[in-house]
Symmetry: C2
Subunit: 197 residues, 2 copies
């Protein structure tokens, strides 16, 4: 008995990750109560982003300009490339403020199960960027999953004779983490990598 407009909006919203039909219905009710304040701005913002956002041809970041703001920033270190799986990981690293070099978005990780091979990722462009020179360190900031670590190993092999130092993120206790709640693998990794204090 819903109007087709509402049904199609519910259907589209329920395609977003983490939103099912029930929360899509709640969201639609919430939106209809806030037409001017939220619904129209959201519609406009979606259209804006869809038309303006490009993928940076150098690093794969999402931005309105190509090359992106990070690639064009003269203040950032040109000698270090941090390799991440997708733009969301880039955003996470930028929020942490720990890194001020260049990025390289792989566009995924190798996965035999999902049929994702080296040609589906931007591994070749990464190797070219490193071989073009001027890169002293490549940091592989990939997820600590089997697929992520497999991908890291493949990239390490490809960069072995490039002259650049290749590093990966440390394994260990998350800050604020409790031993009792951690899996054995993490505890063992943190123990092996112990440091004198």
């Amino acid at each position: 008995m819903n109007s087709p407009e509402i049904d199609s909006l519910i259907m589209l919203l329920s395609k977003l990750p983490g939103i099912g039909p029930r929360s899509a219905r709640r969201a639609v009710l919430h939106l209809i109560k806030r037409r001017e304040g939220l619904m129209m701005p959201l519609s406009q913002s979606l259209a804006d982003t869809a038309t303006k956002i490009k993928t940076c041809g150098t690093c794969g970041n999402l931005d309105t300009s190509d090359p992106c703001l990070i690639c064009r920033d003269p203040e950032r270190d040109k000698g270090a490339i941090c390799v991440i799986e997708d733009a969301g990981d880039l955003w996470a690293l930028e929020r942490s403020g720990i890194f001020s070099g260049q990025y390289h978005v792989l566009g995924g990780v190798l996965s035999a199960l999902d049929g994702i091979g080296p040609d589906d990722l931007t591994i070749d462009p990464l190797v070219s960027r490193v071989r073009d020179g001027g890169i002293s360190e490549v940091i592989l900031a990939l997820n600590a999953t089997v697929d992520g670590q497999t991908t890291a190993h493949v990239i390490m092999d490809r960069l072995a004779d490039s002259g650049a130092k290749v590093s990966g993120l440390a394994h260990g206790l998350p800050v604020g983490g409790e031993l009792d709640y951690l899996d054995d693998g993490t505890i063992a990794a943190a123990f092996r990598a112990r440091r004198s204090v």
Copy 2:
């Protein structure tokens, strides 16, 4: 370091119920990967719904026409009004297919905490609809919360001399529910309302 378009889209999405900044970021990445298939249609659907959907002046339902489809349907029973808190409850009842009469959306429930009094709800229009005659039953399908039941009592008082029969939803075991997981109040209500079988 995100572009302002992406930041404002994340901010708007995170205002939806059940979506925080983290899931809004995931949703934005998901949308940017599906610009033509999901992002532009969603933008269009939001604009469509925001401009076309009206609140029915009779029952408070959301529809493209006023009076809404349900109020205009000649097949539906004109003698019964089901009172619900908001349009989402109307949708839930329509999905169940149990009721084929008229609806009345209150627009909320009385709440001393949130400062919602009788004048903020459509209680007066409901009383007018019932007093205008032709209504034999008013079904109060309000949530089984303290605020919902308080509101039900206030409406019952207002309709006491209207001549219409006023009923409320039964309390008891949810279909498929297990005694062991139910709260004491529900078990007691189901026990008191036991029926011979």
